[in-house]
């Protein structure tokens, strides 16, 4: 499997179907695991790191998983490839920028990935389109059982799975749901929602863009506590919160329509107009307008574009994707031109509509 082949496909979490997919982009489950025989990453020698990667590779090769997945040596990848995998959320920033032996095991359908030598020796993640935490956890549990049959994890009965950071100890489980919340942003209620959620120990953070820059109105909601509650209880907790957020977003959308349907229609149509006609456009600006278009399509205000197309564009207009797709490295300015071309091709009258839409 070549990374170029990945670039052509949309990947599980960007498929744009599954329950509540007008608001919920994807459900994601992550487990942190460490091998008992080695120190945690910060105390690993280069030999330790290499030995961990080799042990994981042996374990996976001994399973049917070995022939179904691709073992990618991240230390041998160039900047562009690493950024590409990051944009697809198959590897983290930390894994991309680390030094020494490190790897990612990729499922060709991008339903899961396993990072080796990230903050912990192993970071397993399972992705599912739309709101489907149960399936995501079920598949994660199976994947974990498989690996566990070949590897000895650092574990005590008292503290559970031992992790490099005490914030992950216990289950090592992080459940995240990625939501598209443009109306809560537009009605300036998002901060209020954040604060309410932090009180119940659920973290909300922006996706795409480091730190303070929230792009595309995409937010990730996840559990903060990993110790003392079982996997099912943690799942339950996040599952209870999401429908409330969805409801808030739906109410905010209704409010925008009641306030002025014409204004809203104008707003989302102009966003589409800019994306279709711009000659140069940055990835931030693209995300900004794509978000409005996505809301417009989901609210029945735009019918010339299908949701899978919008989701695909969210991904394909990211810097590394754009360069992968056109097969060469591009300067920022050249990327902005290429991005505008790409958008024009995929959004103009016949390019964007998908006859199989949902």
């Amino acid at each position: 499997m070549k990374l170029e082949e990945l670039a052509q496909q949309t990947g599980e979490w960007m498929r744009g179907n599954g329950p509540e997919s007008d608001i919920v982009m994807s459900s994601r489950v992550r487990l942190a695991r460490n091998l008992a025989d080695f120190p945690f990453i910060r105390k690993c020698t280069p030999q330790d790191r290499a030995a961990i990667a080799a042990a994981v590779r042996r374990a996976i090769d001994a399973l049917p998983l070995g022939s179904e997945t691709e073992f990618v040596d991240v230390s041998k990848l160039g900047d562009l490839d690493r950024q590409f995998l990051m944009e697809r959320q198959l590897i983290s920033h930390e894994l991309s920028e680390a030094e020494g032996a490190r790897a990612v095991i990729l499922d060709p359908h991008e339903r899961f990935s396993i990072m080796v030598n990230e903050e912990d020796h192993l970071r397993l993640q399972v992705m599912q389109s739309g709101l489907d935490l149960e399936t995501a956890w079920k598949r994660m549990n199976e994947l974990d059982d498989l690996l566990e049959s070949k590897l000895t994890y650092a574990f005590t009965k008292k503290l559970g799975y031992l992790t490099a950071c005490p914030t992950n100890v216990g289950t090592g489980l992080r459940i995240s749901v990625m939501l598209h919340l443009p109306a809560l942003v537009a009605t300036k209620q998002i901060e209020k929602v954040f604060r309410a959620f932090s009180k119940i120990n659920v973290a909300v953070r922006g996706l795409f863009g480091e730190g303070s820059q929230f792009m595309g109105d995409l937010y990730q909601v996840s559990n903060q506590m990993t110790l003392g509650k079982s996997e099912d209880q943690i799942l339950q907790r996040v599952s209870e919160v999401i429908p409330r957020l969805i409801e808030y977003e739906r109410k905010a959308r209704e409010f925008l329509v009641e306030e002025s349907r014409d204004d809203l229609h104008d707003h989302v149509s102009r966003a589409l107009g800019i994306l279709c006609t711009a000659k140069k456009i940055s990835s931030e600006e693209t995300m900004h307008y794509l978000s409005k278009v996505r809301m417009g399509v989901n609210m029945g205000l735009i019918d010339s574009v299908a949701i899978p197309t919008v989701n695909k564009l969210f991904m394909h207009t990211q810097p590394a994707h754009l360069q992968k797709l056109c097969g060469q490295k591009l300067s920022v300015s050249a990327r902005n031109t290429e991005r505008a071309n790409y958008l024009h091709q995929h959004l103009s009258e016949n390019g964007g509509a998908d006859p199989k839409r949902n």
Partner: protein, 197 residues
């Protein structure tokens, strides 16, 4: 009222109760409020953790005690508690045993709990106690070889091999490493009062 960072109208009036110098009142415009929430947010778990650690330790311990905690060192990987505090990441699984008393209040703070509930691996031999026992036995064996006590070294080698092959230790996962009958070597730090947290 104007935002305290710019000329825009302050729409967020925040009372920060966790401020180290007592409650702080902030008046911010939307943009600066966003920055404020983000820096406080969980985007950087390591820095949030080190903040939490320093706050908590300052609250609960006097300076002298703090310096002593900082000097504690894991006998397995050699990391000191101060190094952990700075980086927010532990050095090896045995740190959870070596720093048990000092980590407990932190775990309560983060998780509101100190004991695991949930999944366990089928293979329970991956305890840090076992790894530590192996390290000790290997050192003892090296020592025995140096002293030309080959019979002792041979016995130790067999013991190591059987532990490595998964023989269950009597107290493989005890509450404290000192409860292990197998534990003959001297503890590397003075046993502290178990109630002192």
């Amino acid at each position: 009222m104007k935002c305290q960072h710019c000329d825009k109208t302050a729409t967020f009036h925040i009372t920060e109760l966790t401020h180290p110098d007592g409650p702080a009142i902030l008046h911010l415009c939307e943009e600066h409020a966003r920055t404020f929430f983000n820096q406080e947010g969980p985007a950087h778990p390591a820095s949030a953790l080190t903040n939490l650690l320093s706050k908590q330790l300052k609250l609960e311990k006097v300076t002298e005690e703090l310096a002593n905690v900082d000097k504690k060192q894991c006998p397995m990987c050699g990391i000191t508690f101060a190094e952990f505090r700075k980086g927010g990441r532990l050095g090896c699984p045995y740190d959870y045993i070596a720093f048990e008393d000092d980590l407990e209040p932190l775990l309560i703070n983060i998780h509101g709990a100190t004991t695991h509930s949930g999944k366990a691996p089928h293979n329970l031999s991956g305890t840090p106690q076992r790894q530590f026992r192996l390290k000790q036995l290997k050192e003892e064996m090296k020592d025995a070889i140096q002293k030309e006590q080959y019979e002792v070294a041979g016995k130790l080698r067999d013991r190591i091999a059987s532990i490595e092959q998964g023989e269950l230790l009597e107290n493989d996962d005890p509450e404290s490493p000192l409860a292990d009958d197998d534990f003959q070597s001297e503890p590397l730090e003075p046993p502290s009062d178990p109630q002192s947290t």
